[in-house]
Symmetry: C2
Subunit: 281 residues, 2 copies
Amino acid sequence: MTIETVSTNKAFGGVQGVYKHASNATGTEMTFSVYVPPHEPGAKLPVVWYLSGLTCTHANVTEKGEFRAACAELGLIFVAPDTSPRGEGVPDDSEGAYDFGLGAGFYVNATEAPFATHYHMRDYIEKELPEIIAANFPADMSRQGITGHSMGGHGALTIGLRNPDIYKSVSAFAPIVSPLNCPWGEKALTGYIGSDKTAWGEYDAVALIESGARVETGLLVDQGKGDNFLEGQLKTHLLTEACEKAGQDAVIRMQDGYDHSYYFISSFMAEHLKWHAECLG
Amino acid sequence: MTIETVSTNKAFGGVQGVYKHASNATGTEMTFSVYVPPHEPGAKLPVVWYLSGLTCTHANVTEKGEFRAACAELGLIFVAPDTSPRGEGVPDDSEGAYDFGLGAGFYVNATEAPFATHYHMRDYIEKELPEIIAANFPADMSRQGITGHSMGGHGALTIGLRNPDIYKSVSAFAPIVSPLNCPWGEKALTGYIGSDKTAWGEYDAVALIESGARVETGLLVDQGKGDNFLEGQLKTHLLTEACEKAGQDAVIRMQDGYDHSYYFISSFMAEHLKWHAECLG
């Protein structure tokens, strides 16, 4: 589990690093970024995971997410993984589309050929990368939260709902709330998991809540009303309805005028991080 | 003076816009970005100009500068121009180097062929773009401040020192403090203004201060001690010495461990904006 440092830059008194390593989960080299805020020697800090959306790498949020000021103030480590395996031999969408294959791993363990060989983003995020973070950074792994944007919001919600003992706080920006009920989800889960939808439920936040999964600290979700993907793909109302029906605490805020971009994400990033810090103690 | 809207995104309650227009000063189309924070209808807001460094366009600081949270809180308009004319017929460095020509206008009015035709960044920043901002945004042009990074820090210092009645606050991140005394400056001013150095003084912050130019509110400068360009190009100590000798108030902070990147700039952006807001009242 050795990692190689790609770059480090001092920022807000801490260190923004980019690292790479050979991943057993994906069978590829994987790159991720970690911000470690200023801290006392020997201190162990809570960790917030940020899962990115379609087309992104670790770099988008690292450059445009505006999370470092809040992480420095609140004492949070911020981890940003990539969104898919990459490199030689990793299959992509047959037509190179942005919504499947490279940059679009959907945080699942693929079972369908040819994707089953490398597309194990679920294991990578849930199992392998946490071990690397624990071994290489001053992280208190008993205090982890998870968030993400769009496809990464889907990842954060589903990973959080499946692992409530590990992630003590769960939030999302403009998440895909139900892959079972949108074109992005249909395409991705058919391609990665196959057309039998009984296997899709564990990758669908709404279905997980309907099946009894819960996050004790509640969910925090921000969604722009001016987001072009709201009606056709994201369908926030399905999450609102599922939470109400199931009694899952959730603060789901529809934000006037905001779109799907990092201008939206960065506007609410500090509030999400403050909320994670409060949940993580 | 019509401008065309390239994009607008809601951010931190305000609007981040990108605009373009036909420039008389440069004879080209020019692109710039403006952030207008949330404000009462009819209000006129102070303006902070941010001049970017070598290789940049308006986009670098717009995406990575982390200025919007502070501008929203302080009620500041933030304007980010391009760093040179661009487009068909605009000459570049003969070898395509990053430190002259496109992306490297140095905020001068060129007098040497073939650059004298389009490279009028001084007139563009000092005269033309302010008229466009006044005409199209809720700007109080009696309350303007100016800052910038590296080449843009040089631009901010020299433009501020030459026009103390217009810019009531002047700061800089890792500025080139004396083009007369560094390789970047030697190359750029020789190419744009010619080899007779008597004409260079108005484009050199140290020379301007030595000649009696003053900024009443003082200067604020942050410089990373880990900046690779500090010793060979930026030479902050020349500014410190000139200010001390001339009695120009200046807070010049050497920051441990910080480099020349936007990780450095964003770390101190909010402090600079707070300082501008205080100077501008």
